[in-house]
Subunit: 206 residues, 2 copies
Amino acid sequence: MIPSLENLVEALSQLPTIGKKSAWRLALFLLEQNQEQVENLANCIGEIKEKICVCSECFNYSEEELCSICTSATRDRSVICVVEKPMDVFTIERSGRYRGLYHVLGGVLSPINGVTVDKLRIEELKQRVAKAKPEELILGLGGSADAETTALYLSRLFTQSPLRITRFARGLPAGMELEYVDQVTLSQALNERIAIHYSTGNKDNS
Amino acid sequence: MIPSLENLVEALSQLPTIGKKSAWRLALFLLEQNQEQVENLANCIGEIKEKICVCSECFNYSEEELCSICTSATRDRSVICVVEKPMDVFTIERSGRYRGLYHVLGGVLSPINGVTVDKLRIEELKQRVAKAKPEELILGLGGSADAETTALYLSRLFTQSPLRITRFARGLPAGMELEYVDQVTLSQALNERIAIHYSTGNKDNS
């Protein structure tokens, strides 16, 4: 009917979480914006593939050979957080609470899907740890079964190294009411419960 | 950190229903696609403003002076469906059940927001009705208070014309269970209830 609009809808509906209806809504929204805004979006999309490569140190996306985190003078070089994918780096960065470096694995081990050790940046991690000698490796790999297996594999890989290996705490998400928590999370929250100390001689209530 | 990626995230998060987190997810998804797909999306976005204008008859989007619905030989020219915006045309078209023409008002009357009669294509609708002499005008304007007011205004505007003026039925949405229906919808469904006739002499059960 309107080929250029339908082509746009088709292209937009290829994006994740955007169905046909959302694609129509987005396309019609774009039509109502001014020329400059629409061109800006088109240019931004057009240039990412040219401009962005992968950091040769941590394998996060970067516009340079080394990314801005790996070259930063203010980051703590004694800690490397191992994550699955670039999105995880941005998620952790947004929290603003982590000042160490990253290592993007490019996935988690999943032999059934053909993701074996050689498909991930595990050899690169070994070399990096041997060379940079960090004090701590945080395995920031999420809670799926494959992620847990990968964390276990990595922790065993580095048992010989003089390294502190940690993982994220498991427990109740912030703001979650107890009645809505699933059983696995609740079990983990119970297993990994934290002692609350009082400063003056209180009795042991446990 | 990565200017070209952050510019894209910024541009994407200007779109409706796309927050910062979705924008990151979309941007990183695009990075993982091949050059061709990404360029295709950029081109589709880039060219819509150049290629698409507004149909001079029905005011829907079009690539020509007159849109494909207005010029179609197979559409029923005796019915015009008045809708608020182009999205509504696509919604009705998708149902595949309407074969008449459209008239896009460009909004609904809302004096508090400065949308007065002269801001909408109401004068154009009057001229079109006078010229094309359709048999029926369907007011397909949604259920908000402003939309209802607009429908009332339009129905009064054409009382002198030899026109059948209709609006969409109000009632239960398909598949909706009675217990989840809101009171207004239920009242309308009751008010506009439809008689079910039996072919052989049944008694009146009402």
